[in-house]
């Protein structure tokens, strides 16, 4: 396949809006190629989108669907010759997730949180999501074995457990959510700071985070730890954020990437002492990111309208349900985690929501280096991912931001710095935030760029970058980004003129990390005992079987001698 004459943005390879041809052969970007010719003259061409943090599969998603038939009714589309039926807005069915990502020009999406014991379910849903490549991050932050290894300061055993846990869950990386809080929630409480000991386990969140970060590097995992801070969603929590990031400053990355990726930073950049004097502290957070180089973040931008909050931070969801007088689902997972689901609506006239909306944009605009910031809505927590084009148009146009702010509660002007921010992003920065950076942050070498050998994932939009001015023509930007002219996945056209024309099965990434056999044996013998005594299923029925990952991409990692890290 040859994509002819497009205006190509591939910042990872130093290409910033050049007219050029892109060739795809055998599913990968190549020097030259034959076959189909796609006329992209003058159109915006970029690598397929990569979502590094989205909730797209697993028990909490399905709980959201089951408790929200009202949501499932939205966005209903009947089956077509190619597509199975779609339903839902904040909690779409599996098919809709694949089709909608593809329509936006996205070809990869990662599920951000799965307990090991429920990973089989997550993979069952992932397999039902068509088109996109995917993976799932594995939860470790309130896990008994993790906490016991940390308490005993047994890093060898912890490394063995993390490697085993990733394999058991067919997981891609280490996710930590409100570390220790999930365990405390087992008896209805929470941890209040990174130094607040976890009941019954004699460890602190700070110790858990640091130990997992060290082990993550020791195992040379492609992705860093992926962290949802303690105290998330609380006024004044930006201090917890900075305090936590400081804990990790001296850890050396084993690959060319961050040592910690912060999930949905928006929810942890809050000032004030309560909801009354709630204010944005995005500038303090952005300042911290501008001065340090060990952390990256995704936005967790909120979108006005309905959302479904869902997180392994169960105490947070309990609080949300109480504040919002909402229905509430909770699910505690033996020995590992807890989680909750609460429907939500973000409202323009609500002071807190107006400020939250501003915080996401401020974080993106005040952080100088776009490689440190990934665009997400923490789907469906801040709002559904189908709204990414809205965010892109906001980041590219001050005028659009001003127009929006007029419709919001006025506190958005006094409690955030957004009105004073002049920056307008260009296409290169947008491509970095939606493609190049998420791929690099996740350690996906063949994604997010169009270099020779990269995956043949390309999106082409009905936008003429040489003719429009995104700062003025923001409506054109939004409309164009919402319906890709072409989405090409692995060299196959899957979207043409905004319609799905093919729905191939994507692949699933997981990480197989090697550890010394003696450590693994020692770990397994202690784990066996845990299964006998505390788990309610047998160890031999615990691991995700190969049948659930029919199209795997196994990424090898582990303690073999390191290649020189630049």
């Amino acid at each position: 396949m040859i994509i002819k004459g497009g205006i190509v943005y591939d910042p990872a390879n130093g290409i910033f809006g050049e007219e050029m041809d892109i060739c795809i052969e055998n599913g990968r970007i190549a020097e030259d190629a034959g076959g189909e010719v796609i006329d992209a003259r003058g159109l915006l061409v970029m690598p397929g989108g990569v979502d590094a943090h989205s909730h797209i599969a697993g028990p909490k998603l399905n709980t959201g669907r089951i408790m929200r038939p009202d949501d499932s009714r939205m966005g209903t589309e009947p089956r077509t010759r190619v597509c199975r039926p779609s339903t839902g807005y904040t909690v779409p069915n599996c098919y809709a997730i694949g089709y909608r990502y593809a329509r936006l020009g996205y070809t990869t999406a990662f599920e951000a949180a799965t307990p090991i014991i429920e990973a089989r379910h997550t993979h069952e849903e992932l397999e039902e999501i068509p088109i996109v490549d995917k993976g799932a991050l594995t939860l470790f932050g309130s896990n008994w074995t993790v906490m016991e290894c940390v308490r005993e300061n047994d890093m060898d055993m912890l490394a063995a457990y993390v490697a085993w846990g990733l394999r058991a869950a067919r997981g891609y990386g280490v996710k930590i959510v409100n570390p220790g809080g999930g365990e405390a929630w087992g008896f209805g409480s929470n941890v209040k700071s990174v130094h607040d000991p976890v009941p019954h386990f004699d460890v602190t969140p700070a110790q858990i985070i640091r130990a997992l970060a060290e082990v993550n590097e020791r195992l040379r995992l492609p992705h860093s730890i992926h962290l949802h801070f303690n105290n998330l969603g609380r006024p004044g929590n930006y201090t917890t954020a900075i305090e936590t990031l400081e804990l990790l400053k001296d850890i050396k990355p084993s690959r060319m990437r961050q040592v910690v990726h912060v999930a949905h930073m928006q929810f942890s950049a809050y000032g004030g002492t309560g909801w009354k004097d709630f204010e944005s502290k995005a500038s303090a957070i952005a300042e911290y990111f501008n001065q340090t180089n060990h952390a990256t973040m995704d936005l967790g931008q909120i979108i006005f309208g309905p959302a479904t909050t869902m997180t392994a931070d169960a105490p947070l969801e309990y609080a949300n349900a109480r504040i919002g007088h909402q229905k509430w689902s909770n699910h505690d997972i033996e020995l590992e985690e807890s989680s909750g689901v609460v429907p939500w609506v973000y409202t323009r006239k609500m002071p807190v929501n107006a400020v939250q909306w501003a915080i996401g944009l401020e974080l993106a605009l005040l952080t100088k280096d776009p490689w440190k910031v990934v665009m997400t809505t923490d789907h469906p927590n801040g709002g559904p991912f189908v709204n990414y084009p809205e965010i892109i148009s906001l980041l590219m146009s001050r005028e659009k931001r001003e127009e929006e702010m007029k419709t919001l509660h006025e506190v958005v002007r006094s409690r955030s710095t957004l009105p004073s921010i002049e920056r307008e992003m260009d296409w290169s920065e947008i491509v970095i935030m939606t493609r190049a950076a998420p791929a690099r942050i996740l350690g996906l070498e063949d994604k997010g760029h169009l270099g020779i050998g990269a995956d043949g994932d390309v999106s082409i939009y009905n936008i003429r970058p040489d003719e429009i001015d995104p700062s003025k023509d923001h409506a054109v930007v939004k409309a164009g980004m919402s319906r890709a002219k072409y989405t090409i996945k692995g060299g196959a056209v899957v979207v043409r003129d905004g319609e799905i024309v093919a729905a191939p099965q994507g692949r699933t990434y997981w990480v197989d990390a090697a550890v010394p056999e003696s450590d693994m044996d020692r770990m397994l013998s202690s784990l066996k005992e845990k299964f006998e005594r505390y788990y309610s299923i047998r160890m031999s029925n615990y691991m995700v079987q190969d049948a659930y990952v029919p199209n795997p991409v196994v990424v090898n990692a582990g303690m073999q001698p390191l290649k020189e890290v630049i």
């Binding site: 709980t63 038939p69 039926p85 599996c94 098919y95 069952e124 509430w328 909770n330 609460v342």
Partner: protein, 432 residues
């Protein structure tokens, strides 16, 4: 050669016990260890349907699988609005195929949940569900409440493996370290082993739960001295028992979902648990009957957005229980053919619905003969999931597990059968 297979899953009830030992000799199951009586008898097997059959002049007559598939496809294609019902005792993989079939023929997929825990699901739509995995309860709960359920008889290993009698990290003394409260209309075996039995009058669950909610919400003063035959004093003691637990768990059964009030009872119980969480930690769980009725709801939810009673007649999923659920469709004669799989509606549905079924062409897919076979027009015997074929099932707490295959048989599995019917549907359509 005698083969000992460990950690086998029992595909009978919603406990989905996964620690069964099975001895297999020359392809036959010889011995089952670790399962309860219900489970063992299922695993040992009984009255299999031997061959596919179709009804000719009122009599079932043996035919080939190929012919049975074609007949089934013809029935489905000729129907205006077919019903695909059952799914509680087969694998998730089978339901996935069933949904695809329903999408293509514009049918309705409904599960046996609509006649058991359907009201629970509607309760969850109203209130959400505050739950956990069973291991969490085993490790932490110091108060277990069985409300309108009788695990001693219906889920025999529940108490020992997961609930009142299980030992765990924070419950090392098992039954001795915890309190058990049973709420029921009669004194069941479960009730006899409880620390406290609250016997209530039939149909008064809603009032009792409301009274407990009032007491827990600090409004005991407004209560009369007697609520639905239970004294205020007793209710206050029970509320106190709940509030003072460190971790409480309510298991509820059809006694709650099918007594007067139905989903409102569940809605009220879910609210009670939600409110108890401002005082202590509390969770609630439905005692699911068939081993994979939970999984059927899960698969339907991720495929269609809805957990049961999904109508594909419009090309897109449409859900309105009370309109699109099996009993409503049948009693309104709004479906004109049925594919029944892994269930026995003839024994479980109201009489009028069974009569409606008897009047329409019925395809039955099942390993075993049951009363539904008596009026089925096409009978397709299948391999038993978890014994003869692999697949996925979800335990009552939502944990998914992989069923093992223990022996080889000639019978095709449900997935294979449904795929063959789908292939025939596509072929017959192309011919026309």
């Amino acid at each position: 050669m005698r083969l000992q297979i460990e950690d086998v899953l029992c595909t009978f009830c919603g406990c989905l016990c996964d620690d069964i030992k099975v001895e297999v000799d020359e392809g036959r199951i010889e011995k089952v260890r670790g399962a309860c009586r219900l489970g063992s008898s299922k695993i040992m097997g009984h009255n299999r349907i031997k061959s596919p059959m179709i009804r000719v002049n009122g009599e079932l007559k043996e035919i080939s699988y190929e012919e049975a598939y074609r007949r089934a496809a013809e029935i489905l294609i000729n129907a205006r609005h077919p019903l695909l019902y059952g799914w509680a005792s087969t694998t998730c993989e089978a339901l996935k195929k069933g949904i695809l079939l329903a999408e293509e023929i514009g049918g309705v997929v409904d599960t046996t949940a609509t006649v058991c825990h359907g009201p629970s699901i509607i309760g969850i739509e109203e209130k959400g569900a505050v739950g956990s995995t069973l291991g969490q309860i085993k490790n932490r709960a110091d108060l277990i409440v069985f409300w309108g359920c009788n695990p001693s008889e219906a889920h025999p290993r529940h108490t020992l493996r997961y609930s009142s009698n299980a030992c765990g990290r924070f419950t090392p003394d098992g039954r001795k370290g915890r309190k058990v409260l049973v709420v029921d209309v009669r004194e069941t075996r479960t009730a006899r082993n409880a620390d406290r039995f609250l016997r209530i009058q039939p149909g008064t669950d809603y009032e009792i739960i409301s009274a407990l909610r009032m007491i827990i919400g600090g409004k005991a003063d407004s209560l009369p001295e007697d609520v639905a035959g239970v004294s205020k004093k007793e209710l206050i003691e029970i509320a106190e028992m709940m509030k003072s637990a460190k971790f409480g768990a309510i298991f509820f059964g059809l006694g709650l979902t099918h007594s007067r009030g139905r989903y409102k009872n569940v809605d009220n119980a879910l609210s009670l648990v939600s409110e108890l969480n401002s005082h202590t930690k509390f969770v609630i769980m439905a005692m699911r009957g068939h081993y994979n009725v939970t999984g059927a709801g899960q698969v339907l939810a991720w495929s269609s957005g809805y957990p049961m009673a999904v109508d594909y007649a419009r090309g897109a999923p449409y859900y309105n229980p009370g309109e699109t659920s099996c009993c409503d469709l049948l009693s309104r004669r709004d479906v004109d053919a049925a594919l029944i799989i892994a269930s026995d509606p003839a024994s479980n549905l109201p009489r009028g619905c069974v009569e409606a079924l008897a009047e329409m062409p019925v395809i039955q897919i099942d390993p075993f003969e049951n009363p539904t076979t008596l009026f089925a027009d096409v009978v397709i015997p299948s391999a038993i999931a978890g014994i003869e074929v692999e697949g996925t099932a979800y335990r009552m707490d939502g944990l998914s597990l992989r069923l093992r295959k223990l022996v080889d048989v000639e019978y095709p599995g449900d997935v294979e059968i449904l795929q063959a019917i789908l292939d025939n549907v596509r072929r017959l359509r192309d011919d026309n």
